[in-house]
């Protein structure tokens, strides 16, 4: 047994009971982490994990393991069956997904998948060199993953994906700037250019000053937009949050809640992202309009939440892996529609007076239902005066209402950027958001933090 789909089929065949489904995820990845312009923390991983869900009389139990020899799979089956025997029948347990055609999703690049360890290490060199006079901190990472799903009702799908990210913080004692870039193929990235972008930003952050707390208009670079919108999505755009009345959209679907310029979708099939063909139930991925010209249109569903909601709801192809089922379906391929501004400088002109934010740090969810977040800016915060980017500021603490931030948007850029949203915890599952830079009329600063730099 060699391929993930074969392993999945073997695990299902060994299981007894009313049905079984196996999700097999393989990973071959490498991450060259650097600090002070030296690689200091490399991680090369070869793994393959089987998640097996066995059903028996309306009960389901899950076992997870990474032994794939016959004895290892038998042990996995035994533990999954023991788990299913320990629980009561679950009336909300959907039947096994029947196989459906899955779309083509060109998410794989052979050259990236075959990148050897020494070449990955060398790929860090241009990223570091790009930081120029500054020391470079960050990483270059690439990964090849395959997800295969088999079930006792004939599901048999698999998809190989690749991803690569270059991330550079160019920093000195009193200056720091940030940039990253993500693609499905290594050849689409220019590590040196990422270093250059970070260094150019860093050079403008020296002599940073404080800023009086208060409400400011702001221009947010794609890095900041991606993290803010992704965090907001995690507490807002999932069906479970909606059904449990934890979402800002609870009771508000169909209402115009945001600026007309704002449209957000979840679209794992967008070729400009990291394409994915199916979810962890094997259901085909679909594009879901979450916000359409300011109107809250929908959330993402899996089969469990759709069954619970009834009333004609169906899965949108957003089931989480069994080990993360408690989180419910999540929007992890966010696409924010572009605007008409040609650059962030043009957005600054629209704002006139405000602040410019490169990146945000350590977001905390203050009130999930109201979409209130706190965090700090980092590695490139500037004042906007007279429609131009002006003097640098220290890192600023903000406490913001995301619905307010998105309620008045003077503009967005025409050009969008694919921004990595993976911290690569656990098994590799690369996700990224495709977003423009965005200007907002409302960004509330509540304090000052540390200066830029180390």
């Amino acid at each position: 047994v060699t391929s993930p789909l074969e392993v999945a089929g073997e695990a299902v065949a060994l299981a007894e009971g009313d049905g079984a489904e196996a999700i097999v995820s393989s990973e071959r990845s490498g991450l060259a982490r650097f600090a002070g312009s030296e690689v200091h923390q490399p991680t090369l991983i070869e793994d393959l994990v089987v998640q097996l869900r066995v059903r028996r009389g309306g009960r389901a139990g899950v076992a997870i393991g990474n032994r794939t020899d016959r004895e290892g799979l038998r042990e996995l089956v035994r533990r999954a069956e023991a788990a299913s025997a320990a629980v009561a029948p679950d009336p909300e347990l959907p039947s096994l997904a029947t196989p459906r055609p899955v779309p083509d999703a060109a998410g794989y690049d052979e050259q990236t998948a075959q990148l050897p360890a020494d070449e990955l290490a060398r790929a860090a060199a241009p990223a570091i060199a790009g930081a120029g006079v500054f020391d470079a901190y960050g990483f270059v990472t690439s990964g090849a993953t395959e997800t295969a799903i088999a079930s006792s009702v004939g599901m048999a799908v698999s998809q190989s994906r690749t991803d690569m990210t270059v991330l550079v913080l160019a920093a000195g004692d009193d200056a720091s700037g940030y940039a990253d870039a993500t693609a499905r193929a290594a050849r689409e990235l220019d590590p040196e250019a990422v270093g250059h972008e970070a260094a150019a930003k860093a050079a403008r952050t020296r002599g940073a000053g404080d800023l009086e707390p208060g409400r400011y208009a702001a221009v947010l670079e794609p890095y900041a937009v991606a993290e803010l919108v992704q965090t907001f999505a995690g507490m807002t755009f999932g069906a479970l949050e909606l059904l449990e009345e934890r979402s800002f959209l609870s009771g508000r679907l169909g209402e115009r809640l945001f600026d007309r310029k704002l449209s957000i979708a979840d679209d794992a099939l967008d070729p400009a992202g990291l394409p994915r063909a199916f979810d962890y139930e094997g259901s085909p991925k679909t594009r879901v309009a979450l916000v359409d010209e300011g109107v809250a249109r929908g959330v993402v569903w899996d089969r469990r939440t759709a069954m619970r909601a009834g009333a004609g709801h169906e899965t949108t192809g957003h089931a989480p892996p069994p080990a993360a089922s408690a989180w419910g379906p999540q929007a992890t391929a966010l696409v924010v529609a572009p605007g008409e501004a040609e650059s962030t400088e043009e957005l600054a002109e629209l704002v006139g007076d405000g602040i410019y934010v490169t990146r945000v740090h350590y977001l905390g969810i203050v009130d999930p239902r109201e979409g209130i977040l706190t965090g700090t800016t980092r590695d490139g915060t500037f004042r906007i005066r007279g429609g131009a980017i002006a003097e640098p500021h220290v890192n600023l603490r903000f406490t913001i209402s995301m619905p307010e931030l998105l309620a008045e948007i003077p503009g967005l850029t025409r050009r969008r950027k694919l921004v990595n949203q993976s911290d690569f915890y656990g098994s590799r599952d690369a996700v990224a958001a495709l977003v423009p830079a965005l200007a907002t009329a409302s960004f509330t600063i509540t304090g000052s933090g540390a200066r830029p730099g180390l």
């Binding site: 290490a121 720091s176 069994p322 350590y362 009130d367 180390l454």
Partner: protein
């Protein structure tokens, strides 16, 4: 397993490594969660593999492979060396010399949590969760977990250690929804409950079913409570929020790898410099913080860290002055002080990092009531809800699940959505009360993230309730 580790080390040395270590880690974990009367999760996980770390010409390499056989082990050693040889940089990394460690360590426990049948775990959760039922509580959740880690470490320095760490925990959460808002209450701790390195007796001692009605009542009452108003006032924190404050504003900034900048691109650096050791005033004289991987029950306890350094209690802050860092063999050698002993990897697939072990705020004196004595006006906050701190661990903002006004030394009306903000040395400098040993509680967190690729560490913190003066509370957009 020990032979496989030795094989990896020998292969790495033969491939040119000056130093090599190999770690086989097997982790078995069970998790059960019930939600509104039905089983949400019943999962049983077991994963294993080997991680090989090498130093070649002063550069690190690390490769991990799930295949616990000759092929997988040799492949990991070769890939680690290939990477290290190609890694850009000047590379003059040195490790603090240590005595080769040999030995075995096993968590003391009475009842193996993994031997407790899953149906018993499900029953416990369902009973606890049933006790959360309340007309205003829309989501009731109870969860328990059990875990066993087996770690074998062999290094080219002659270290050969084996450890078996046993851990379990649990908690309950009640989410009340009404009046257009939602309010969460948790016990014994937020974000998944609390865990300990101990047998199942720890989970039984939590009294989840006993505490659940209070948790539900408070969640419901919060729907009708007034919002916490903004003020500059005296703040009293319960032990649970105090330990998170210690974690974020003392633990992370005293990790010596952060101090040296190696976390700069992700978690950040530190407001503390290496030259501050022994002189920096971190907080008031009432502040004494100790790192102690020997604490019974701590989820950061071990016999040896992942570099084979034997566990030992080390001061970090004494009487408000910085007297220690959390360190590794590499960072201690660079500093020219300390002994390492805080290197931990999440599992076989991750390289060890400087991590907290068990980091405690040592108790002061007196009862909780004594802490409130003399406060004309203030606020008492309990149980973490949100947390955020800047990249140098200076500017922070925390929210808790619940608060009460303090008037004339007594708790008054309940307040919802409490937050407070501050700057680390100013905040700890305003500490003017730490309750005594009788109020000291230890919590085990299982969600401490760090590193790229990300790693989750389990760490424990003990603390008593604390009192701070002139704190900004009630921060809102």
């Amino acid at each position: 397993v020990r032979d496989l580790c030795s094989l990896a080390v020998e292969a790495a040395l033969a491939a040119g490594a000056r130093y090599a270590d190999a770690r086989v880690v097997e982790i078995r974990e069970q998790g059960v969660a019930t939600k509104n009367g039905r089983v949400e999760t019943a999962a049983d996980s077991e994963t294993a593999g080997i991680g090989v770390r090498v130093l070649v010409d002063g550069a690190w390499g690390f490769a991990a492979d799930r295949r616990l056989g000759r092929d997988g082990v040799l492949a990991a050693a070769a890939r680690a060396c290939d990477f290290a040889r190609a890694a850009p940089g000047g590379h003059k990394r040195e490790l603090l010399p240590v005595e080769p460690a040999r030995g075995r360590y096993t968590t003391p426990s009475e009842r193996d949590p993994l031997s407790v049948p899953l149906d018993e775990k499900v029953e416990l959760c369902l009973r606890a969760e049933a006790a959360l039922r309340h007309p205003d509580v829309k989501i009731a959740v109870a969860s328990v977990r059990a875990r066993r880690e087996r770690r074998v470490l062999v290094s080219s320095d002659g270290t050969e250690v084996e450890q078996e760490l046993v851990e379990c925990g649990g908690g309950v959460d009640a989410l009340a929804v009404g009046n257009g808002i939602s309010q969460l209450r948790s016990y014994p701790s937020a974000h998944g409950g609390s865990s300990a390195q101990a047998g199942w007796e720890y989970v039984q001692s939590l009294g989840l079913e006993r505490e659940a009605p209070r948790v539900a009542e408070q969640a419901a009452a919060l729907l009708r409570a007034d919002p916490c108003p903004p003020a500059l006032t005296t703040l009293v924190l319960d032990a649970e929020q105090t330990q998170l404050q210690v974690h974020e504003s003392v633990g992370h900034p005293t990790e010596l790898d952060r101090v040296y900048g190696t976390e700069a691109a992700y978690a950040g650096t530190s407001w503390v410099g290496p030259g501050d050791l022994g002189s920096l005033r971190y907080g008031s004289e009432l502040m004494t913080v100790t790192a102690d991987p020997t604490t019974p029950g701590g989820v950061g306890s071990f016999g040896f860290d992942d570099e084979g350094v034997p566990a030992a209690r080390q001061p970090v802050i004494e009487g408000g002055v910085l007297t220690g860092f959390l360190s590794s063999r590499e960072t201690a050698a660079r500093l020219g002080a300390l002994r390492g002993g805080s290197m931990r990897a999440e599992d076989w697939s991750r390289m060890p990092l400087v991590r907290m072990t068990n980091l405690h705020l040592e108790p002061g004196t007196g009862s909780f009531a004594k802490l409130l004595d003399g406060i004309d006006e203030g606020v008492y906050m309990e149980t973490n809800r949100s947390w955020s701190i800047d990249d140098k661990r200076l500017s922070f903002q925390f929210g808790t699940q619940i608060a009460w006004e303090i008037r004339d030394g007594k708790l008054g009306r309940m307040l919802r959505d409490p937050t407070y903000a501050g700057v680390t040395p100013v905040f700890w400098g305003s500490l003017d009360g730490v309750a005594g040993p009788e109020e000291w509680r230890m919590y085990g967190l299982t969600n401490c993230g760090k590193g790229q690729p990300g790693q989750v560490a389990h760490v424990s913190h003990g603390a008593s309730p604390t009192r701070f003066r002139n704190v900004q509370i009630g921060v809102s957009p």
